[in-house]
């Protein structure tokens, strides 16, 4: 009978047990995998299902209503983008150079994580020619809001979270300090603000109100600067406190808010290139303006 033994008995030193007990380097190697026993319980079944499954604990129905934005995307934007992004001479252009290391061959690298070996991840992604399977698409929208003067009054984060919840219809998570900062009087664990991930109907509803109500109301808005699109397919927008006040949920009862805060909105797409993210968002109706060149590093 082979019992799974937690700590290998073929260790000579005590320190070895503590550091990396579950792997043995001496041949024959038996890699014993650790696992949490709790996962095998029946009550954990609901947490193992995908969050989109109705049996999952965290399930929230996303396709609650007919969606104007996604309907427009599938009806006209997608097929148009296939034509627009077509390049006759285009081939695969690789992104960052990965040094592929077989971890098991080198005993010194066994328990190291990816980042320590590979260094920083690359500036831009691998770019494949665009095919019908490959057309850029909206993923999700991340909205985050940070409160001011948290070191003076630690409950200021509540207004930041309430702002997001009121606007996006999604309950935000906390943004927490991870490294203490003595100059700013910030401790580890103190709450700075909130962030929310938007999917489905909430996502498109937020983007539509942003594009059709908030930007047109702003006097000084000339369009989204082009260079905000980063090489990994994201666009980050900074909304000022005045722009946030234009949201109809806040405009209706402005006296309720003692102080309004700015927000950052990060729109994530599957595009492999800043030019394609711009193409996708302008197809969905966002106006752009050219200010600096697009951030496109030289190809390898």
């Amino acid at each position: 009978m082979n019992f799974s033994v937690r700590i290998s008995k073929r260790q000579f030193s005590q320190a070895g047990k503590l550091c990396k007990g579950t792997y043995s380097i001496v041949n024959p190697t038996h890699h014993i995998e650790r696992y949490g026993k709790r996962v095998l319980m029946e009550s954990a079944d609901s947490s193992k299902t995908h969050s989109n499954d109705i049996k999952a604990k965290c399930y929230i129905p996303l396709d609650v209503r007919q969606d104007r934005l996604t309907e427009h995307y599938y009806n006209s934007v997608q097929s148009d983008m296939l034509l627009m992004a077509y390049d006759h001479s285009e081939t695969f252009t690789p992104g960052p150079i990965y040094r592929e290391i077989d971890n098991l061959s080198n005993p010194y690298l066994i328990n190291k994580t990816k980042s320590t070996i590979f260094g920083k991840t690359g500036l831009f992604l691998d770019r494949y020619p665009i095919t019908p399977k490959n057309i850029p698409e909206l993923l999700n929208v991340e909205v985050s809001c940070m409160a001011k003067d948290v070191n003076v009054n630690k409950y200021k984060y509540i207004t930041a979270k309430a702002l997001i919840q009121q606007i996006t219809n999604v309950k935000p998570n906390n943004i927490v300090v991870t490294e203490s900062d003595h100059n700013m009087f910030l401790r580890v664990g103190s709450i700075l603000g909130g962030k929310a991930d938007l999917f489905g109907y909430d996502k498109s509803q937020f983007l539509l109100t942003l594009n059709e109500l908030i930007f047109p109301k702003d006097e000084y808005f000339n369009g989204i600067p082009e260079h905000l699109a980063d090489p990994k397919g994201h666009i980050t927008l900074e909304l000022s406190a005045e722009q946030v006040s234009f949201f109809p949920e806040i405009m209706s009862d402005k006296d309720l808010w003692d102080s309004l805060l700015g927000m950052t909105v990060k729109i994530n797409t599957t595009a492999q290139d800043p030019a394609y993210t711009k193409m996708l968002l302008s197809g969905l109706g966002f106006p752009f303006r050219a200010e600096g060149p697009l951030e496109e590093p030289a190809r390898v």
């Binding site: 929230i60 129905p61 396709d63 609650v64 209503r65 007919q66 104007r68 309907e71 427009h72 009806n75 006209s76 097929s79 148009d80 034509l83 627009m84 077509y86 006759h88």
Partner: protein, 272 residues
């Protein structure tokens, strides 16, 4: 596409033609099928059931003016539909000589079940404000337009749900508009380092009038058929006006009946 490059290399401008597939994108959302309608209703029901109850104490804390206003408004209104539903069960209705209301799941109604917001009833309280609001009431336009009722195919404001495509009658057949240009115009394009799609937009404006606001989707042709490059473009505003040429704005289903079956087979995959 290989064919295109070969053609251009040999510089055969004589036989070259430019076609344009001009479309108007849908203006309103698609009407739902009964299955889709039920699906969305089911999902909305799930969403509502999972939502928290109205936290009354949070929004209307006890001992404030706001709660006084709120509680004044909360008159229990008899829901006649529900009463009729449980009318047969006398035991449920007349319990201790008091009428008891039941919610949809058959339980006794609590405070959460009938909440009336002050803002909703404000209009009824103030008669003057209600009169004003009726004037400013939003009414939706109908999804079926005047051109739909008259079945006027030459106008753009019809079948708002679908994409509309411009077709023209040439040599007794309904086709997408195609144009022949002089050799000089092609050569000038090559000198200016411009693409053919700009020519297709110019040609369309010459045919249908300058008031059309057009936008060509891309410089790559979407189709090559019988020495013609087809380019896609979108019309945003304006109308096609030409007395000499017969034209129609049709959606995909209607194109099938009008066009040549062979021609339609070639073009079908380009249409939405």
């Amino acid at each position: 596409m290989l064919k295109c490059t070969k053609l251009l290399q040999n510089s055969v401008y004589k036989d070259l033609q430019i076609g344009s597939i001009l479309k108007r994108i849908p203006i309103i959302t698609k009407s739902l099928t009964p299955y889709e309608k039920e699906y969305y209703e089911y999902k909305q029901g799930l969403y509502n059931r999972m939502a928290l109850d109205f936290p009354k104490d949070y929004y209307y804390p006890p001992g404030t003016m706001k709660t006084m206003e709120f509680e004044n408004v909360q008159k229990p209104k008899a829901n006649m539909e529900l009463l009729n539903k449980y009318a047969k069960k006398d035991e449920l209705l007349f319990k201790d000589n008091k009428t008891v209301e039941y919610n949809e799941s058959g339980r006794e109604k609590t405070d959460c079940d009938h909440v009336v917001l002050v803002e909703d009833i404000k209009n009824e309280l103030n008669d003057e404000s209600s009169k004003k609001n009726k004037e400013n009431e939003v009414t939706f336009n109908s999804r079926i337009t005047k051109a739909d009722k008259e079945n006027d195919v030459t106008k753009l404001d019809r079948s708002l749900e679908n994409d509309l495509y411009l077709i023209v009658k040439s040599q007794g057949k309904w086709v997408f508009p195609t144009f022949k240009n002089s050799e000089d115009s092609y050569k000038q394009l090559v000198d200016d380092n411009k693409s053919l799609d700009l020519l297709s937009v110019d040609n369309l404006k010459q045919l249908g009038g300058e008031n059309m606001q057009l936008w060509s989707i891309s410089k790559t042709p979407c189709k090559f058929l019988k020495n013609t490059f087809y380019f896609k473009s979108i019309i945003f505003s304006g109308e096609f006006k030409n007395d000499k040429v017969e034209h129609k704005w049709l959606n995909k289903n209607e194109l099938k009946d009008v066009m040549d079956p062979e021609y339609y087979k070639e073009m079908e995959y380009l249409l939405n």
